[in-house]
C-alpha cells in the first residue's frame, strides 16, 4: 500500500511534545495512516504534535486534509476565527511541499520551524 512511514518520538519542552517524523509521500493512499496515527496518539493523551516534514518528498491536498483534521483534533479550546494552531506545528518542510503549503495558504494557519529545538520550545 502506501509508501509512507511515521516514527513517533517524545520530547519535553515547556510541555510534552509528540514528534511525528514522516518519511515518504503523503497522498490519497497514505494520508489516512497519518490521521489515524495522530488520532491514536491524541487518544493516548498527546496534546501537542510536531510534524517533522524533512523527509516528506511529496504532499498533495490529502496531506493538508490530514493536518487540518489533526489541528481540529487538538483545538481543545475550540478557538474560532483567525489563529495559528497552538498544538500542531510543522518542522522543515522543503521543496515542493513548502511551495504547496504557501499556495494553499496553510502558512497563515500553521507555525513552521526550521530548527527542531526552537520548534519544541515554542509549544
Amino acid at each position: 500500500m502506501g509508501d509512507m512511514s511515521i516514527l513517533v518520538g517524545q520530547e519535553q519542552g515547556n510541555v510534552a511534545v509528540t514528534v511525528l517524523k514522516i518519511e515518504g509521500d503523503i497522498d490519497a493512499s497514505t494520508f489516512k495512516d497519518l490521521q489515524d496515527k495522530a488520532a491514536e496518539l491524541v487518544e493516548e493523551g498527546a496534546s501537542n504534535i510536531l510534524l517533522d516534514m524533512a523527509d516528506v518528498k511529496y504532499m498533495g491536498s490529502a496531506g493538508f486534509r490530514a493536518i487540518h483534521a489533526i489541528a481540529n483534533m487538538l483545538n481543545k479550546e475550540h478557538e474560532e476565527g483567525m489563529y495559528k494552531s497552538k498544538h500542531v506545528k510543522l518542522l522543515n518542510p522543503h521543496g515542493e511541499v513548502a511551495r504547496v503549503i504557501k499556495t494553499l495558504g496553510f502558512d497563515s494557519f500553521l507555525e513552521i520551524y526550521e530548527d527542531r529545538n526552537a520548534a519544541i520550545a515554542s509549544f
Binding site: 500500500m1 502506501g2 509508501d3 509521500d25 497522498d27 490519497a28 493512499s29 511529496y58 498533495g60 491536498s61 490529502a62 493538508f64 486534509r65 487540518h68 483534521a69 489541528a71 481540529n72 483545538n75 475550540h78 478557538e79 474560532e80 476565527g81 483567525m82 489563529y83 494552531s85 521543496g95 515542493e96 511551495r99 504547496v100 499556495t103 494553499l104 495558504g105 494557519f109
Partner: protein, 149 residues
C-alpha cells in the same frame, strides 16, 4: 512535431506514485524545469485521485494519461471511462477562512486550476471523460537546446 508519452493505470490509489513518477520522467525528457514538474505531479495526482474516488468510486477501471510537448506548451490529457466528475462543479475552498471554520476537501480542484494555464474538461461521446491540462512556455525549445549544446 510533437512528442507523446503515454501510460495506462488501473484505477487504484496505490498507483498514484507510479503516475507521479511518469510525470516526472516525461517532464524531464521534455526539458521542463523541476518546479513546474513538481506542480504538474501535484495537478495530475489530484485529478487522478478525483477520478478514482469520485468517478470510479471503488469500481474497477483504467485511466489513460498522455503527455505531449506542443511547441513550448505542455499538454497532459487524462481519460477515463468512469462516471462524470466535472471539476467545475466543485466548490472552491475558502482558503482565507481559519482552519477550524473550513470544510475539508475541494483543494485538489483548486490546485488544478491554480497551477495550470487551462484545464478543459469534457465528456467523451458514448462513455468516459477527458481532462486536458495546459501549461504554457515550459517545454524546452529543442532548437535552442541544440544550439546551446
Amino acid at each position: 512535431m510533437s512528442r507523446v508519452f503515454e501510460i495506462s493505470i488501473e484505477a487504484g490509489l496505490e498507483n498514484l506514485k507510479k503516475v507521479r513518477s511518469f510525470i516526472t520522467k516525461t517532464g524531464q525528457s521534455l526539458g521542463v524545469n523541476a518546479d513546474v514538474i513538481g506542480d504538474m505531479c501535484l495537478v495530475v495526482d489530484e485529478a487522478v485521485t478525483n477520478i478514482i474516488l469520485h468517478g470510479y468510486d471503488g469500481q474497477e477501471g483504467t485511466i489513460d494519461i498522455d503527455v505531449q510537448g506542443h511547441g513550448r506548451t505542455l499538454v497532459i490529457t487524462i481519460r477515463d471511462q468512469a462516471r462524470s466528475f466535472d471539476p467545475e462543479t466543485v466548490e472552491a475552498p475558502h482558503l482565507e477562512d481559519a482552519l477550524a471554520d473550513r470544510a475539508y476537501g475541494g483543494m485538489g480542484v483548486y490546485l488544478i486550476k491554480k497551477l495550470t494555464d487551462e484545464a478543459e474538461f469534457k465528456r467523451l461521446p458514448g462513455k468516459g471523460n477527458q481532462l486536458r491540462l495546459f501549461k504554457n512556455e515550459v517545454v524546452a525549445d529543442r532548437k535552442n537546446k541544440a544550439h546551446v549544446v
